[in-house]
């Protein structure tokens, strides 16, 4: 299978600060998604981004597929951004999505 590594594993930010989360993967992939897991356990879709850059409000993501990494940027962080962020990659038909181990983000007021 594909190895997916996320860094940092834990991150504590003051409200209003910016952060960058990284996802490295060990093989070429067809798709990549970023999720935010809220305290109740639900995985919320953030980005579906096999390549390129996308932005959604204070969040943006960039995937460089040829170099096998993706970055998630959070600007002007808010306490509601707290939770665990996962990236998941998929190699193609007949394969599964592989999840990273996550980055646990805590935003303090």
């Amino acid at each position: 299978g594909i190895q997916v590594e996320q860094s940092p594993p834990d991150l504590i930010l003051q409200e209003g600060a910016n952060s960058t989360l990284r996802c490295n993967f060990s093989d070429s992939v067809n798709n990549l998604q970023w999720f935010h897991q809220n305290p109740w356990g639900q995985l919320i879709n953030l980005f579906y981004i096999p390549s390129g850059t996308k932005q959604n409000g204070r969040l943006s993501a960039t995937t460089v597929a040829t170099e096998r990494y993706s970055l998630l940027y959070i600007s002007s962080s808010q306490t509601t951004d707290s939770g665990v962020y996962f990236c998941a990659v998929w190699r193609g038909a007949g394969n599964q999505f592989y999840f990273g181990t996550g980055t646990s983000l805590t935003v303090i007021p």
Binding site: F35, L43, N45, G100
Partner: protein, 111 residues
């Protein structure tokens, strides 16, 4: 547009019992995947159903089985429960192999 719905949200079982979890996919989706998430870890793929067939399976024992119905809803069955089966069970739906959308999960505790 209803998203992915799972039931029950919480349940408690004892070792050796059997459990059935249910999932209704997002409208228009035809593929359902199940994941197990232990505390502090990322979701682990159990299996995926498409056109009522198990299309892909992760590294889980045969105690884990599933089913997909003609309306694309799905069940996950776990037999002979072990303490280690305690976890959050997540269902995801997609249109074939497209973007995944997750339900809120079923939290299983095995005593």
């Amino acid at each position: 547009d209803a998203g992915v719905t799972q039931s029950p949200t919480h349940l408690i079982k004892t070792r050796g019992q059997q459990v059935t979890l249910r999932c209704s996919p997002k409208s228009g989706h035809d593929t359902v995947s199940w994941y197990q998430q232990a505390l502090g870890q990322g979701p682990q793929f159990i299996f995926q159903y498409y056109e009522e067939e198990e299309r892909q399976r992760g590294n889980f024992p045969d105690r884990f089985s599933g089913h997909q119905f003609p309306n694309y809803s799905s069940e996950l069955n776990v037999n002979a429960l072990l303490l280690g089966d305690s976890a959050l069970y997540l269902c995801a739906s997609s249109l074939s192999v497209g973007e995944l959308f997750f339900g809120e999960g079923s939290r299983l505790t095995v005593l």
